[in-house]
Amino acid sequence: MWKNLPLFPERASALAWQVDGLYFLLIAVSAFFTLLIFAAIFYFAVKYRRSVHPHAVQIEGSLPLELAWTLIPLGICMILFAWGSLIYFQEARPPKDAMEVYVVAKQWMWKFEYEDGQRDLNQLHVPVGRDVKMIMSSQDAIHSFFVPAFRIKADVLPGRFTTTWFRPTKVGTYHLFCSQYCGTNHSAMIGQVIVMDPTDYQAWMSGGAGGSTGTLAANGQQLFQQLGCATCHRSDTQGRGPNLVGLSGKPVLLDDGRTVIADENYIRESILNPGAKIVSGFKPIMPTFQGQVSEENLMALVAYVKSLAQTQPKGEAGDGSSAPNTSKLQ
């Protein structure tokens, strides 16, 4: 019977311990206050019951007490707030050299695309010990990427990218849930995260699982030519548009004086809504590609533009080699 009754989720990511730690603290705080209140009520209710204590003693209140039970919970709350926020910041901050997986969510399935061009449906394969960053968007309603064993969750939105990341620490197969209600088969929009030994992972990768068609960035490069991006964005300074080499991750100065970081969402927005943020020194002439590129193609384009940030752009080399930092396993 107890085998069928697990009471605590598995812990399979670097972050899980931190979340659980805060959780235990919260349980302790809650247990303390709950017991305090329960005990006090029980004690008063028995001690001062009408039959033994027929005449109430009128007590108006007490400022010191009011202050105490305002300030003490407040103090506790601030500690909880600080700790919770620290964890959240870690979750919101993917490490720079993380391996990237692009995710398209749609009713009611998960599509994964790895940097090397593999594709997978409802199954995410990742090597143990490696930082993995998910770059996600939805084709229809809002979905949510939830892996309890990793203690992470992020909504997957239509019309823009959201990201999350994790570092699996334990080989195994874990639940992947869609946790944002998305219609009829919301509860069937589940999958698995398969955490593998690095060697198994390599084997799986080269096994051509899912049918690879060149790396994502290489696909993106093709699109870049087809869609005519290359007419304006050239790898010198002569183009009508800015040179995209080295763009990803760098701050960009806009013509209204603001500076933004060129992350996935910025690149995405530059393609779909180029008028929103105009690069300083350029004219707003780039046409919008809204409605002309599918979610998958968009991801390929973004992956390509991002790959240009490497000194030796992968896409241009066209070698389709796996990510450059596979060796950096922790």
């Binding site: 809504n273 180029p274 929103a276 707003p284 046409p287 809204q290």
Partner: protein, 232 residues
């Protein structure tokens, strides 16, 4: 509390509802209730203002392009019409306070005329937008005004027009209701329902009317006067 002894006391007493102690309590209560109601109205429009703010910040250029389809002359005229109607309304309330029911009725009738004037001009504008396919939905069509600025997405201008129609439409609906209320005052006024001791309904409808004017005072610059310079 002693009620005053002036002549119209009977009308006043008939109007006093059973659960109030006196006319003064009733009047204060009615007025406070009306202000509370206007407060909810502000939050009601507030949701739209919020959407407007968010999208204007994101799609400024598209909003500029949309706003250039507005007929500023008609918009400004309408603003003036509403201000005039507010004046006659205020004077109408004043007439009621001073016990001049005939004057009140005349002023309220003028207010109604202004109200219809506003709606008429608005209808002309709506018609113009309608034939130009500037109504959100499948039939929406919008050419970016400046070929040198293809970056603005007509779809975002559609959002502008959605907000335009939603906000002005809701405002126009309030105008229609307002005209109905004023008409009711006119009829009741002709039947001598209001005296200097009892004119809460006039006061409250007045408040409502001015509030509708107030909303327009903001809508006008927000929707019509975003920027004349192309591409801001």
């Amino acid at each position: 509390m002693a009620t005053s002894d002036i002549g119209d006391i009977q009308v006043a007493e008939r109007a006093l509802q059973h659960h109030f102690a006196d006319m003064e309590q009733q009047r204060d209560t009615a007025s406070f209730g009306m202000w509370m109601f206007l407060l909810t109205e502000i939050m009601f429009f507030g949701g739209l203002f919020c959407a407007y703010l968010v999208y204007r910040a994101s799609y400024y250029h598209a909003f500029v392009e949309g706003s250039q389809k507005m007929n500023i002359t008609l918009g400004a005229t309408n603003t003036a019409v509403l201000i005039c109607s507010s004046l006659t309304m205020a004077l109408g309330v004043r007439a009621a306070q001073m016990g001049k029911p005939k004057l009140m009725v005349i002023l309220l009738l003028i207010t109604i005329v202004f109200g219809f004037g506003f709606l008429g001009i608005k209808a002309v504008e709506y018609h113009e937008h309608w034939v130009n396919h500037e109504f959100p939905g499948p039939s929406f069509h919008f050419e970016t005004g400046d070929p040198a600025h293809p970056a603005t997405d007509p779809q975002h201008t559609e959002i502008y027009f959605s907000l335009y129609w939603a906000m002005t439409g809701l405002h126009a609906l309030h105008m229609v209701i307002g005209i109905g209320l004023v008409a009711w005052l006119v009829i009741a006024g002709l039947m001598g329902a209001y005296t200097p001791h009892y004119y809460n309904p006039v006061e409250n409808v007045g408040l409502y009317w001015h509030f509708v004017d107030l909303v327009w005072i903001y809508l006008f610059p927000m929707l019509y006067l975003i920027s004349k310079k192309h591409g801001g």
